[in-house]
C-alpha cells in the first residue's frame, strides 16, 4: 500500500505545484495600453560570433535612440529589450520565446547567423510577431514564414557575385577553403562553386577547417598543390587573417576571395599585409562610396561608441530603422499590423542601400566587391541583382 500511497502523495504534490505555478503566470500588461512600445532583439553578445552580435546591437541601439529622440512613434517611446543567445541556436529559441511571450515584444530583430535565425523564426511565426533579420544571408531564413523578413541580400546572390567577379577577373581555377562548422561558409562555398562553374571556371580543390583551429598549413599546402588562380575562403574574419598569413608563409601567393563575413576592423590587424590585393563581397556600405547617409551614420556612430562602424552595424541600424518606419505606417501597433506595414516597405532609404522588400520578404540590394588595400577597403565593383539575372 505504501507505493500507491506514495503515488497519491505525488499526485497531490504535483497538483499543488500546478496551482502554485498558476500564480506565477506573468501579469504583464498588454503593450497596447502602455506608453511604451517594446521591440525585442536577440543577438550573440557573447560566444563565437560575439563581434558580429555586438556590432549589430550597437547599430540597432543607435537607430532606436535616434527614433526616440525624434519623438518615438505617435508619442510613444520605443523600448528595446536585448537578450544574449551566447551564439547558440537552442538558446536563440528560448530567448525569442521570452521576448515574444513574456516581454510582449511587437517586433523582433535578429539574428546575424542564419542557423539561429532559422531556429527562432518559427516562434515569431507562431506568435505572429514580425522578425527582421539584419544580416542572415541564408535563403532559407525568410522561407520560414510570412512574418520573417531580412534587410540584406542572400547568400546565393552574394556567392554568385563573387563567382562572377572571379571569372571576370580572369581566374579560371579556384580552390575552396571553408569552415565546416559554419553553415554560412558551407553554403557560400556551394553557391560560389555553382556560379563559378556555370561561368566556365573550374573548382580544383576543396578543403575545410573548423572555427577554433590554429593551424591551417596542412590544408593550404594541399590546395597549393592543385595550382589554383584564386582561393575562396568564405569564413569569418577571425580566421581569415591567420589563414592568409599562413598561405603566404607556405608560398601560396594567389588572391583570396571572401564574403561579408570578412568585414571587420579586425580583419587587417589579423592578416597584416597578407590580404593586400584580395577581394571580398560586402553589403553596400563603405566610406569610400562618399554617400551622405553613410557619412552621417559613421559620424553618429563614432560619437556614440567611439569606434568606426562596420557593415553589420549599418545593417543593424537599417533593420531597426525599417521596423520603426513600418510602425509609423502601421494601421495597428500589434504583430500583424506591423508585419503588413513591413511587407509593404518600398524604397526605404537605408544606410546600406534602398530597401524594397520583395514578395519573398527579401531585400533586393546591390553587392559591393571590395579590394583590400593596406588598411582601406576600396570599392572595386558594384553588382545589381538584375545583372546576375536574379
Amino acid at each position: 500500500m505504501t507505493r500507491s500511497g506514495g503515488k497519491l502523495l505525488g499526485l497531490l504534490a504535483a497538483l499543488a505545484l500546478a496551482i502554485g505555478l498558476n500564480g506565477c503566470k506573468q501579469q504583464g500588461g498588454s503593450a497596447a495600453d502602455s506608453d511604451e512600445i517594446i521591440i525585442g532583439e536577440y543577438a550573440s553578445l557573447t560566444g563565437t560570433t560575439a563581434t558580429f552580435g555586438v556590432s549589430t546591437h550597437n547599430g540597432v541601439l543607435l537607430a532606436i535612440d535616434e527614433a526616440n529622440a525624434a519623438g518615438g512613434i505617435n508619442g510613444k517611446k520605443i523600448k528595446l529589450i536585448t537578450e544574449d543567445d551566447r551564439s547558440k541556436a537552442d538558446e536563440a529559441r528560448v530567448v525569442v520565446t521570452k521576448l515574444v511571450t513574456q516581454n510582449k515584444a511587437v517586433a523582433v530583430l535578429g539574428e546575424v547567423a542564419s542557423t539561429r535565425s532559422m531556429t527562432a523564426a518559427p516562434v515569431c511565426q507562431q506568435y505572429k510577431v514580425p522578425m527582421v533579420s539584419p544580416s542572415s544571408t541564408n535563403p532559407e531564413v525568410t522561407r520560414k514564414g510570412d512574418y520573417i523578413f531580412r534587410v540584406c541580400f542572400t547568400d546565393d546572390f552574394q556567392a554568385a557575385v563573387v563567382g562572377k567577379f572571379a571569372y571576370d577577373k580572369g581566374y579560371r581555377k579556384a580552390a575552396i577553403f571553408k569552415d565546416m562548422k559554419n553553415d554560412y561558409s558551407v553554403a557560400f562555398a556551394d553557391n560560389f562553386a555553382k556560379s563559378f562553374i556555370k561561368q566556365g571556371g573550374k573548382v580544383v580543390g576543396e578543403q575545410s577547417y573548423q572555427e577554433g583551429d590554429t593551424d591551417f598549413k596542412s590544408q593550404l599546402n594541399t590546395l597549393k598543390a592543385t595550382g589554383p588562380d584564386a582561393i575562396l575562403c568564405p569564413g569569418y574574419y577571425s580566421e581569415v587573417g591567420t589563414i592568409a598569413r599562413q598561405a603566404r608563409e607556405i608560398g601560396l601567393n594567389v588572391p583570396i576571395l571572401g564574403g561579408d563575413g570578412w568585414d571587420s576592423p579586425k580583419l587587417v590587424p589579423g592578416a597584416g599585409t597578407a590580404l593586400n590585393g584580395c577581394f571580398f563581397s560586402n553589403h553596400r556600405f563603405s566610406r569610400e562610396l562618399e554617400l551622405p547617409e553613410i557619412k552621417a551614420f559613421i559620424e553618429n556612430y563614432k560619437k556614440k561608441y567611439n569606434e568606426t562602424p562596420d557593415a553589420l552595424a549599418a545593417l543593424g541600424y537599417d533593420a531597426a530603422g525599417l521596423v520603426v518606419d513600418a510602425m509609423k505606417r502601421a494601421s495597428k501597433l500589434d504583430g500583424p499590423g506591423i508585419r503588413d506595414a513591413i511587407a509593404q516597405t518600398k524604397g526605404f532609404k537605408g544606410v546600406t542601400g534602398v530597401i524594397t522588400l520583395d514578395e519573398n520578404r527579401n531585400a533586393r540590394k546591390e553587392a559591393l566587391i571590395l579590394r583590400i588595400d593596406g588598411e582601406v577597403f576600396r570599392v572595386e565593383k558594384t553588382y545589381r541583382p538584375e545583372e546576375l539575372g536574379q
Binding site: 553578445l45 557573447t46 560566444g47 563565437t48 560575439a50 563581434t51 555586438v54 565546416m180 578543403q207 575545410s208 577547417y209 573548423q210 577554433g212 583551429d213 590554429t214 593551424d215 598549413k217 596542412s218 590544408q219 599546402n221 594541399t222 598543390a225 577571425s238 580566421e239 587573417g241 591567420t242 598569413r245 599562413q246 608563409e249 607556405i250 608560398g251 579586425k266 590587424p269 589579423g270 597584416g272 599585409t273
Partner: protein
C-alpha cells in the same frame, strides 16, 4: 614525396606544441590522478599575457613601420615569453591552491575567504553601472565589501565537508575552474578577437627537395624542445623533481618519507603552467592566430588527448603522444578528409587505447586483488 615531407614538418611543429601543453596535463595526472581541465585555459592566459606584453606592456615596435627594430624586438620577445611563463605558473599555483587542494585536504578558512571574494566580485560588477558616477575606487571598495560579506556564506556551506575520493568530483571541479576562467576571461578581455601585430622578423627557408620551413615554425619547435629538455632536467636531477617522481609513484609513501606533498604538487602546477604559458604566448605571437578567451579550448583538448594517448603520467609519453597527434592531424587535414580532422584524432585515440589501455607509454598497473 615533397608533400609528405612537408606535411610531416607541419605535423611536427603542431605536435611539439601539443606536447608542450600535454606535459602539463600528464605531470598533474602523474602526481594527483586528476585531469586538470583548466590547463587549456592557462594556455589561453599565456596567449593574453603575450598579447598585452606585445601591444601594451613592452615597447615593441611594429616591424612594418620600423624594420630596424627586429633585434630589439627579439630581445623583448624573450622577456615577454618569460613573463608569460611566470604569470601562468603563478596561475597554475593559484588554481591548485584554491580549487584542488581543498579537494584533498578539506576546505580551509582561507579557501572560504577566497571563494567568497570571487563570488563577490561578479555580483558587484553587475552593479557597476550604478557606481559609474562614483568612479572605480568606490566600485572596488564595494566589491571588496560584498566579497568580504560572502565569505561566511562559503564557510557556512563548508561547515561539514566530507572529503570525497570520487574522481568524477575532481573532474567537475576542474571543469568548473575551466568555465570560470573562460567566462571570467570574457568579462575581462571581452569576446572580440585580438591579434598580435608583426613584431618578429619572418623568413621562409626552402630545404632541398622543395620542402619549406618558416622561421616561426622553427622557433616554436626550438623553444618547445628546449623547454622539454629543461623540464626533463628538472624532473630527473633536481630535488623537487625527484620529489615529484616519488609522489607520482606513491603519494602516501612520499608523505611518510617527509616530502611536503602540497608544496611539490604546487611546484608541479607551476611547471605545467610555465610550459602552457610559453606555448600560448609563442603561438599567439608567431602564428598570429586570433586570441579570445576560448583560445585554449581546442588545443587544450587535443593536447589532453595526446597526453592520454602517450599514457597519462608519462613524460616521454606526452611528447610521443603530442607528435603523433600533430602528425596524424596534419596528414588528415592535408588529405581529402580534412573535414574529419577532429574526429580522426579521437578515433586514433580510441583505437590505441583499446589495444593499449594505459596509452602508448603508460604503466599499466593491474588492480591488486
Amino acid at each position: 614525396m615533397q608533400q609528405i615531407a612537408q606535411q610531416l614538418i607541419y605535423g611536427i611543429q603542431l605536435g611539439s606544441l601539443y606536447a608542450l601543453i600535454a606535459l602539463g596535463y600528464t605531470m598533474v595526472y602523474g602526481v594527483l590522478r586528476l585531469i586538470n581541465f583548466a590547463h587549456g585555459d592557462v594556455y589561453m592566459v599565456g596567449a593574453f599575457v603575450g598579447f598585452y606584453a606585445c601591444t601594451r606592456w613592452l615597447p615593441f615596435k611594429d616591424l612594418a613601420a620600423h624594420p630596424e627594430a627586429a633585434g630589439a624586438n627579439i630581445a623583448l620577445a624573450v622577456v615577454a615569453l618569460l613573463l608569460a611563463m611566470a604569470i601562468c605558473s603563478a596561475m597554475g599555483v593559484l588554481i591548485e591552491r584554491f580549487a584542488y587542494r581543498p579537494l584533498r585536504n578539506g576546505l580551509q578558512k582561507a579557501d572560504a575567504h577566497f571563494w567568497g571574494l570571487v563570488l563577490g566580485f561578479p555580483i558587484t560588477g553587475l552593479f557597476m553601472p550604478v557606481f559609474s558616477g562614483w568612479g572605480p575606487l568606490v566600485a572596488v571598495a564595494v566589491g571588496m565589501g560584498v566579497g568580504f560579506a560572502m565569505r561566511p556564506l562559503v564557510a557556512w556551506l563548508a561547515r561539514r565537508v566530507k572529503l570525497s575520493e570520487s574522481r568524477l568530483n575532481a573532474l567537475i571541479t576542474a571543469i568548473g575552474v575551466s568555465l570560470l576562467l573562460e567566462n571570467g576571461g570574457l568579462l575581462v578581455f571581452g569576446a572580440n578577437p585580438n591579434f598580435i601585430p608583426n613584431i618578429l622578423p619572418e623568413h621562409t627557408y626552402t630545404l632541398p627537395g622543395g620542402v619549406m620551413v618558416g622561421s616561426s615554425q622553427l622557433t616554436i619547435l626550438g623553444v618547445s624542445v628546449f623547454l622539454m629538455l629543461a623540464l626533463r632536467y628538472i624532473v630527473m636531477y633536481t630535488r623537487p623533481g625527484k620529489a615529484m617522481r616519488a609522489i607520482s609513484h606513491d603519494i602516501e609513501a612520499a608523505k611518510l618519507m617527509g616530502i611536503d606533498t602540497d608544496r611539490v604538487i604546487a611546484f608541479t602546477f607551476a611547471l605545467g603552467g610555465a610550459l602552457a604559458g610559453a606555448g600560448g604566448a609563442m603561438v599567439a605571437a608567431l602564428t598570429h592566430v586570433k586570441i579570445t578567451p576560448l583560445f585554449g579550448l581546442l588545443p587544450g583538448l587535443k593536447a589532453f588527448v595526446a597526453a592520454v594517448l602517450g599514457g597519462a603520467g608519462s613524460l616521454p609519453g606526452a611528447m610521443v603522444g603530442g607528435l603523433l597527434m600533430g602528425s596524424a592531424e596534419s596528414f588528415v587535414a592535408g588529405s581529402s578528409l580534412s573535414m574529419f580532422r577532429d574526429a580522426i584524432a579521437f578515433c586514433v585515440l580510441i583505437i590505441i587505447l583499446l589495444v593499449r589501455p594505459a596509452g602508448l607509454m603508460g604503466r599499466h598497473v593491474p588492480e591488486k586483488v
